[in-house]
């Protein structure tokens, strides 16, 4: 198996008296989709925000490509090659697809925006992800469907040659066909050699695209299992009880927030 691109070692995080993350270990490998599952309040979004540099961690180590890194903000995460696609999409409705994909990182030539270059790059990226549902890359985001928006947000991450993409519930608000599109896209990201972390509540989605499932239970990493080695029911048990047969935390009843 390849070297992990992103490693978390003993991550702890508290918000005041609430200990949200307990000694979290997680490896993200390139070319793999790691699903991060857990009940509401298990700490999934907090973990993602810690990786993205939005929340500072209290203790623990983050290794990126084998080197320890200290990510202090979204910009630093982006510079390393870690992109986050948030649940509430960070797209500006009044701009078109190209403008959104390059927002904050516009390409310029002689101080002026290089529109043709950006448009070509955006089309190339969308084409490489086999996105066919968008009529034109100059379509305003306001006239796109939910799935298409999600596609644009994810494609934005690819455009920046990111190495790790964190997706926070990308299919939460989507219909059946649109979910299909996004899951296909997630799979293609991994095929392109990116490390993908997918937060999801939907077990069907998880089993469909994930290579590995990481279950959080009350801020603890209950188990990291290969998706082929477990059943649907076992994962649900891990999520709700923190334990399933030999898998999971030794004494989940003692676990507290």
């Amino acid at each position: 198996m390849s070297e992990p691109i992103l490693e978390l070692r003993g991550i702890n995080k508290s918000f005041g008296p609430v200990h949200v993350l307990h000694d979290i270990d997680l490896d993200v490998h390139p070319g793999e989709v790691t699903a991060l599952v857990g009940d509401n309040g298990a700490g999934k979004s907090t973990l993602v925000k810690c990786i993205a540099g939005i929340h500072p961690t209290d203790s623990g180590e983050v290794l990126f490509e084998g080197r320890p890194v200290h990510i202090k903000g979204p910009r630093e995460a982006a510079e390393l090659g870690i992109e986050v696609v948030y649940q509430d999409l960070a797209l500006a409705d009044n701009l078109d697809i190209v403008q959104n994909m390059f927002l904050g990182r516009e390409r310029t030539k002689g101080g002026l925006l290089d529109e043709t270059d950006m448009e070509q790059a955006a089309r190339k990226t969308l084409a490489s992800l086999s996105v066919r549902t968008v009529k034109s890359v100059r379509t305003q985001v306001s006239s796109l469907s939910g799935g298409q928006r999600q596609t644009v947000a994810i494609a934005k991450a690819v455009l920046w040659n990111s190495k790790v993409v964190l997706l926070d519930e990308p299919t939460a608000a989507l219909g059946v066909a649109q979910t299909r599109q996004v899951l296909d896209l997630v799979r293609r990201l991994a095929e392109q050699g990116l490390g993908v972390v997918l937060i999801s509540h939907n077990m069907n989605d998880v089993f469909e695209v994930a290579d590995k499932i990481a279950c959080l239970y009350l801020g603890r990493m209950a188990a990291v299992v290969g998706s082929k080695d477990v059943t649907h029911g076992q994962v649900v048990e891990l999520i709700t009880a923190g334990r399933s047969g030999d898998l999971g935390i030794a004494r989940p009843e003692a676990a507290t927030i």
Binding site: A92, G104, R123, K124, A127
Partner: protein, 485 residues
């Protein structure tokens, strides 16, 4: 040898790659997104956008045509050369202030103080001129030191937010005020613009950094600057501007050669920019409008500009004693501001960020854009533009009175931007909206005046037109919201 060959194949490979990837690869994946549209497709696309609620300046342009026809039919003097030139000069100041306000409106903010702020800059300009550079004498000790203190404050605030243009302009204003350089028309105009930038820095800081809603900040400052103008000029006083250069800004005309030179530069520049972009898009295999349509647009504009330039270069004086001819100076002034502003909004990262912040503040923040800085900067732009507007209207009247910039200056400016199609909800609008809207309002005021309508009717009609424009904005927005998804 071998290494050379290796290099050769490498470059040819790269070349092929460059050529094929964007064109072949992309086109096959975007079946509908072909490289060149037919005229019919372009027209259908435009119509679909209009039906989808993206009206842009269309209602205002239609209104403009209707107004021109109606007033020409009703008043024999309306469609005369003298009046049309006069119209341009009357509408210029409102249009310029409105162009600055477009930046503020793009963020979904409002600047109610732009009118009285322009009054302050006009008063400072007049004081400097009348007292031959001695602002200390013109204002009195206390007022002068407070004035300088505020300029220092503006420099500090702009520097803190790294808005260097605002800081530098405020510093220039401070230097001009403190050094007491003798009166010079150009210096006075520069001073007015710099004071405008300083005012905008203060307004912008209060909105962006302190976080007070712009409506409240600028409502308060509307009163403050109104008071400042009164303090500078004194109750019932008027500051006359006896200077040929300042007088000519709004009343002078380009000579015959200058008028046609302007025509050549404007039309040639437009054609060069449009054609360069068009062919660069075609060359790179991106969607472009049909070449015939682009050429048609340029041709139509050339003919229109030639007719206007020709008409304005005829003698339009009412009596035989004087000759009035040539394109008024305000035309190149407005054009230059329009071109610079449009360039900033459309072709620079800054402009892109203004639209992004207006569309989705949170998305802009996550994309790493300094939202506070963008929000502050638009107020600096608006107040500086207001100062240029102030120069034009003071020049037109030939004096500055305590009511300068008060009354309906602001309302007409906001009205001009909104009538032209700028959305009050932010994120949507272009600089040319201000010009079209300014023309609509100028025609209403001018035409109703010629028809000898009482002020009451003029106010009511102007207000109703503004209401109509705001309704069109709100309805088209709703339509766009339902058309999506």
């Amino acid at each position: 040898m071998s290494s050379e060959e290796g290099g050769m194949t490498d470059t040819t490979e790269k070349h092929e790659h460059d050529h094929e990837m964007p064109q072949q690869g992309a086109i096959s994946d975007f079946g509908i997104d072909t490289t060149s549209q037919s005229t019919g497709e372009a027209v259908r696309d435009y119509w679909a956008r209009v039906r989808g609620g993206e009206l842009g300046s269309l209602p205002a342009l239609l209104g403009l045509v209707v107004l021109l026809v109606v007033f020409s039919a009703l008043s024999p003097t309306f469609f005369t050369l003298g009046n049309l030139a006069n119209l341009l000069q009357q509408g210029a100041s409102i249009t310029i202030i409105a162009m600055g306000l477009v930046f503020v409106l793009l963020l979904g903010e409002i600047d109610l103080s732009a009118g009285t702020a322009s009054g302050v800059t006009a008063a400072v300009m007049a004081l400097h001129l009348i007292n031959d550079g001695n602002l200390l004498g013109g204002m009195g000790d206390t007022v002068f030191y407070v004035f300088c203190g505020l300029l220092v404050l503006a420099i500090v605030l702009a520097s803190v937010m790294k808005i260097w243009a605002g800081a530098v302009l405020s510093a220039i204003a401070l230097v001009i005020a403190a050094v007491g350089i003798p009166a010079n028309a150009w210096l006075e105009m520069l001073l007015a613009i710099c004071v405008g930038a300083a005012i905008g820095s203060i307004t912008g800081f209060l909105v962006a950094k302190v976080g007070i809603p712009s409506f409240v900040v600028t409502l308060a400052l509307f009163l403050v600057w109104g008071g400042v103008v009164l303090q500078f000029i004194g109750d019932g006083g008027t500051l006359g501007l006896r200077d040929d250069t300042i007088f000519n800004v709004a009343n002078g005309n380009l000579n015959f050669v200058g008028s046609w030179a302007l025509f050549v530069i404007a039309v040639g520049g437009y054609a060069a920019v449009v054609l360069t972009r068009h062919f660069s898009r075609l060359r790179k295999g991106l969607v472009a409008q049909p070449t015939s349509l682009v050429l048609g647009k340029i041709g139509a504009l050339t003919v229109l500009a030639a007719v206007i330039t020709y008409a304005l270069s005829l003698n339009r004086a009412q009596s035989n004693l004087v000759i009035i001819e040539g394109v008024p100076y305000v035309v190149p002034l407005v054009l230059v501001l329009l071109v610079i502003g449009t360039f900033v909004l459309d072709r620079t990262s800054y402009g892109r960020h203004v639209y992004a912040v207006g569309g989705n503040k949170e998305a802009a923040r996550r994309a790493g854009i300094n939202v506070e800085r963008i929000r502050m900067s638009v107020f600096v732009i608006a107040s500086s533009a207001a100062a240029i507007g102030a120069i034009v209207y003071s020049s037109k009247v030939g004096s500055v009175d305590p009511n300068a910039g008060a009354g309906n200056t602001l309302l007409l400016s906001v009205g001009a931007a909104v009538i032209g199609g700028t959305s009050l909800f932010g994120g949507k609008g272009r600089l040319r909206d201000a010009v079209i809207g300014g023309a609509v309002l100028a025609i209403i005021q001018n035409g109703m005046g010629l028809l000898r309508q009482p002020a009451a009717v003029v106010f009511i009609v102007t207000g109703l037109v503004l209401l109509l424009a705001a309704s069109v904005d709100a309805l088209s927005r709703r339509r766009a919201a339902t058309a999506a998804r």
